[in-house]
């Protein structure tokens, strides 16, 4: 009997995971159909001003943090791998290694973690507060379509901006790497650029960008869903915000691992 309990727990966790996933899919589909209803009347799906407010917040204002974290990460990785590889005289591998790591993997992942904490949290808190104060219900009761009006501009902004943020992250990391290569390992800029160019293949770039879009979608969906389903006043908003950040980071890492596993197993 005793050894059955873990199985039951796993089963329960799996079921709640699947329930959440299906709620997210419904949220997305409902949002799209609300947008379609509105566009059928010859209108933009959401207000341009709301959309641009979101793009500014999620995009432009996130660049400094994303760039800074990636810069230092690139710098540290270059330093650590460089000193290891120098013992074999192969420190020239550093630029290529970090290029591949960031474009394929770390850029989308780092950016997602930062965006989940910075933007996802604010989406949840904002929509959660609106839910608690019945603003969302009022928007619904007026026939405005709360998903179209509130979720769509936030989601579209994040999905469109994630690729650019990931590029910013990658470039910042390469800049950090270059500084180390130049000052610690005497690799000049033309050589560095050549090494990066050799390592950078289209497939990795495309894959990184697709990941960026997918992760942006996941973060926005989870954050908005948690916000719209808040219960229990101000405390509920707090709990939902924490859980939004935790579950979007875990979900992103889960999807990332899954994608990587598919890649390793897929015949080249």
């Amino acid at each position: 009997m005793a050894n059955r309990e873990p199985m039951v727990a796993i089963g329960r966790a799996l079921r709640s995971f699947l329930a959440t996933v299906s709620s997210l899919i419904w949220l997305l589909l409902d949002m799209i159909s609300e947008m379609a209803d509105h566009m059928r009347r010859g209108r933009l799906p959401f207000r341009r001003s709301v959309f641009f407010a979101q793009t500014e917040r999620a995009g432009l204002n996130s660049v400094p943090l994303v760039a800074m974290v990636s810069f230092f990460l690139g710098l540290t990785m270059a330093l650590l791998t460089g000193y290891q590889l120098r013992t074999f005289g192969t420190e020239r591998l550093v630029p290529g290694l970090i290029t591949i790591a960031f474009w394929r993997e770390l850029g989308p992942l780092m950016t997602s973690v930062i965006i989940a904490a910075r933007i996802g949290a604010s989406y949840t808190a904002e929509l959660g507060t609106m839910t608690v104060s019945e603003e969302v219900e009022a928007i619904d009761a007026m026939g405005l379509g709360p998903l179209r009006f509130l979720v769509a501009p936030r989601l579209v902004a994040l999905v469109l901006l994630m690729p650019s943020l990931v590029v910013a992250s990658n470039l910042a990391a390469l800049f950090g790497t270059y500084l180390i290569c130049a000052f610690s390992f005497n690799i000049s800029l033309p050589v560095f650029a050549d090494l990066v160019r050799e390592a950078l293949i289209l497939k990795d770039v495309v894959q990184g960008m697709l990941k960026a879009i997918l992760f942006g979608l996941l973060i926005a969906l989870i954050a908005c869903y948690r916000g719209l389903t808040v219960q229990g006043g101000a405390a509920g908003v707090g709990t939902a915000t924490t859980s939004s950040v935790v579950s979007s980071i875990t979900t992103v890492i889960g999807f990332d691992t899954f994608i990587n596993m598919l890649q390793v197993n897929a015949p080249q």
């Binding site: 409902d30 159909s33 609300e34 209803d37 507060t129 609106m130 104060s133 019945e134 603003e135 219900e137 009022a138 928007i139 619904d140 009761a141 007026m142 026939g143 405005l144 379509g145 009006f149």
Partner: protein, 255 residues
């Protein structure tokens, strides 16, 4: 006279808790039904059912001949444009100014030109005695002021049915009378129907063309104000007189 809204034997449960236990009601154009009842008795829930925010566990909610809970979302949203709701706690969009709040339904749902919208907003604000507050955010207003803006927002679409959730709670007596008059005037001018949830006896008798009492999930009285005032039903009599003696006592919530 055919009813605009009709509730037929509506039951609503939240889990094990039965909030409405077979409510039937009818409201016709030009009528103003005042609904009274205890706190937590399901009055706000009743209004949510009419808006299609909640679906009845059983029974039917009918607006203008169509059953609300069966409407697909697009038709439901179109129907909601014909209903105005004044929320108990205003529920204004906190990130929008007063002007933007009032303009929102007009801009999103109609093709009204901008200058006409401005004109409408100005006359609505005058009607609720809130001129000059266009550029304020809801957070800068008092509760009573927010309530008046909420009322203006509901009226701006000239709905056929107005739902008021405690429109005069928390207002001073003068403003409260102004609101009462506004409720009566708009319903007479537009021949719109109204359902007004209120605890204030004075304004209830002033506004209502009919009054209903919701008690333990049922409508136990539904009559014209004069008859309602003289009701022999102990619950109604206690409610009207505001007495502590009677069936409504401690531990009073319905099971």
């Amino acid at each position: 006279m055919s009813a605009l809204v009709e509730l037929e034997d509506v039951v609503l449960r939240f889990g094990p808790k039965t909030v409405l236990d077979g409510v039937s009601l009818q409201v016709s154009p030009g009528e103003r039904l005042v609904v009274m009842g205890q706190s937590g008795g399901g009055k706000s829930t009743l209004l949510r059912l009419i808006l299609g925010i909640l679906k009845p566990t059983s029974g039917r909610v009918i607006f203008d001949g169509t059953e609300i809970s069966r409407l697909p979302r697009r038709q439901l949203n179109e129907m909601r444009q014909r209903i105005g709701m004044v929320y108990q706690y205003s529920a204004l969009i906190s990130s929008l100014t007063v002007r933007e709040n009032l303009a929102l339904p007009l801009e999103e749902l109609t093709d009204t030109p901008a200058d006409e919208i401005d004109e409408k907003i100005r006359s609505m604000l005058t009607a609720v005695d809130m001129e000059g507050s266009e550029d304020k955010l809801p957070a800068e207003l008092s509760g009573g002021m927010r309530k008046r803006i909420g009322l203006a927002r509901a009226l701006v679409m000239q709905p056929e049915l107005m739902l008021y959730d405690e429109p005069s709670a928390g207002l001073d007596p003068v403003v409260s009378s102004v609101i009462d008059e506004l409720i009566i005037r708009t319903s007479e001018e537009n021949q719109s129907a109204g359902i007004i949830v209120t605890h204030e006896m004075d304004s209830a008798f002033r506004i209502g063309t009919r009054m209903a009492m919701l008690y333990q999930g049922r409508i136990i009285a539904d009559d014209v104000p004069e008859k309602f005032r003289q009701s022999t039903n102990p619950v109604v009599a206690q409610f009207v007189s505001g007495s502590t003696e009677g069936p409504i006592g401690e531990g009073r919530t319905a099971p």
